[in-house]
């Protein structure tokens, strides 16, 4: 926490190394969250890159108080929400299906290298409704409280907790079902 405050302060004073350090420290966490949220690794990479570029351009606006990791996680979640909203406006197609098509179409040069475990988790997350996926991912990966997620989703805490319960049950079923299937084979 203190290290983050120092990093932000140095970054605000124009220190490139501080920004480099923030990038190194949080890129993997942000990529993991983005992959959990959008399932399409290409999109996840774009989002995380955009978040860092936006951070780099906003030294004068970023607040030094608070939790840097959570701030960046929220930026990723908001960017993905905006992206989904924009896509829904322009396309009638289901975004998750579109994501999976993009996934299968191959990538020019990968930035994120997914472990087998993350690929399985991402597949399972893709099969639960987005709002539930967001709650589970932000709570598990972003270490955000239900209250913070409720604010982000503009929903009540009860709703968020409900989404979490449903999401977790479904995820448990999907992941363990898959594992059971693999074991049977």
């Amino acid at each position: 926490m203190m290290e983050d405050r120092l990093l932000i302060w140095k970054f605000k004073l124009g220190d490139r190394d501080a920004l480099r350090r923030i990038y190194e420290k949080y890129k993997n966490d942000l990529l993991k969250l983005a992959i959990a949220l959008v399932t399409d690794v290409n999109v996840a990479e774009d989002v995380v890159q955009d978040v860092f570029v936006s951070l780099a351009e906003s030294a004068n606006r970023i607040r030094a108080r608070g939790n840097l990791r959570r701030y960046l996680m929220t930026c990723v979640a908001n960017r993905i929400r905006n992206r989904r909203r924009d896509r829904r406006r322009h396309e009638a197609a289901d975004t998750d299906e579109a994501d999976c098509v993009a996934c299968a179409s191959g990538r020019p040069e990968e930035w994120a290298i997914l472990s087998e475990e993350l690929a399985s988790l991402s597949d399972a997350l893709a099969r639960i409704p987005y709002e539930q996926r967001e709650v589970v991912s932000l709570h598990m990966q972003g270490d955000m409280t239900f209250r913070q997620i409720a604010r982000l989703q503009n929903a009540s805490i009860n709703t968020v907790q409900g989404r979490y319960r449903y999401g977790m049950n479904r995820l448990r079923f999907l992941l363990n079902g898959e594992r059971k299937h693999e074991t049977d084979r």
């Binding site: 203190m2 290290e3 405050r5 120092l6 932000i8 302060w9 140095k10 605000k12 004073l13 124009g14 220190d15 490139r16 190394d17 501080a18 920004l19 480099r20 350090r21 990038y23 890129k27 993997n28 990529l31 993991k32 992959i35 959990a36 890159q49 860092f52 570029v53 951070l55 780099a56 351009e57 906003s58 030294a59 004068n60 606006r61 607040r63 030094a64 108080r65 040069e109 990968e110 930035w111 994120a112 290298i113 997914l114 472990s115 087998e116 475990e117 993350l118 399985s120 988790l121 589970v136 598990m140 990966q141 977790m168 995820l171 448990r172 992941l175 363990n176 594992r179 059971k180 074991t183």
Partner: protein, 273 residues
């Protein structure tokens, strides 16, 4: 991965790595964006200054002390030997310990102050020549007034804090970084000379304000040497509101007598004690 009901384990045990070549590309884009933003607006925020100085219509010497005491640590962290990749509070504390005494003098008035961060002693001579000697370790408050032949002793008021609340190196860090706020102030940095030495000049201002705060920092020692606050009058003339010089002696006054009280003045309990 073993089947488990604990989804947390799935998240924790699902690592992601990055391709170093793409990493360099992405980081390059991020740093380019940073450089562009900086060149577009070379002024960067000097956080905390406004909240600590400017909100007070009448800037007080002690407040300026707090700002500079904090800046000393901040500057050390910024420019000293502490590496951003491995900063710990202990390192900052070590750095601060090298700066035990700080001496301040108001260049437009008679006020003088000393602060010892190691022994938590604060000494101030006010604009009427009265001397305050506060030892926060023993809780003693000594006061000598030029109109009196006696030094009066009383306990330090519980609400009073060393160096306006900065009671130690780690607290300095906490308070300083806790006070960082985006409140619209911009700082420009320049190089110059001051009393024959090379200095970095930080000037903090705000478009809507007529006040400007300037801090000169010794380019070699990285320590502030002067803090000035000026206010532009409606007729365009500039009024210097605060002009404080700083130096960092190896030691300071050992007691109130060394701070200037007459040796003949005995120390007695204050009448209201």
């Amino acid at each position: 991965m073993k089947p488990t009901d604990n989804i947390r384990e799935y998240f924790d045990n699902a690592p992601v790595d990055t391709n170093p070549r793409m990493d360099a590309t992405v980081l390059g884009k991020v740093l380019t964006a940073h450089d562009k933003a900086n060149s577009k607006d070379s002024a960067v925020l000097r956080p905390g200054t406004r909240s600590m100085i400017m909100r007070n219509a009448k800037t007080r010497f002690a407040v300026a002390a707090a700002v500079v005491a904090a800046a000393v640590t901040g500057m050390y962290v910024l420019t000293g030997s502490v590496d951003g990749t491995s900063i710990t509070i202990a390192q900052v504390r070590d750095a601060m310990q090298e700066l035990d005494w700080m001496h301040m003098s108001n260049r437009t008035g008679p006020e003088v102050a000393w602060y010892s961060f190691a022994s938590k002693v604060q000494i101030a001579v006010d604009d009427e020549g009265a001397i305050l000697y506060l030892d926060f370790d023993t809780g003693k408050h000594l006061r000598w007034d030029p109109s009196s032949a006696t030094i009066y002793e009383s306990p330090i008021d519980e609400a009073r804090q060393f160096a306006s609340g900065i009671s130690g190196p780690s607290e300095v860090v906490d308070k300083f970084f806790g006070s960082l706020e985006d409140d619209g102030w911009e700082v420009t940095r320049d190089l110059g000379t001051y009393d024959g030495r090379k200095v970095e000049i930080w000037t903090a201002g705000q478009k809507a304000s007529t006040s400007v705060v300037t801090m000169r920092i010794d380019a070699e020692t990285k320590l502030p040497v002067c803090l000035t606050q000026t206010v532009k009058n409606p007729d365009g003339t500039v009024h210097v509101q605060t002009d404080v010089g700083f130096d960092y002696p190896a030691t300071g006054p050992a007691d109130i007598y060394e701070a200037g009280a007459p040796r003949s003045a005995p120390i007695k309990p204050a009448p209201d004690q």
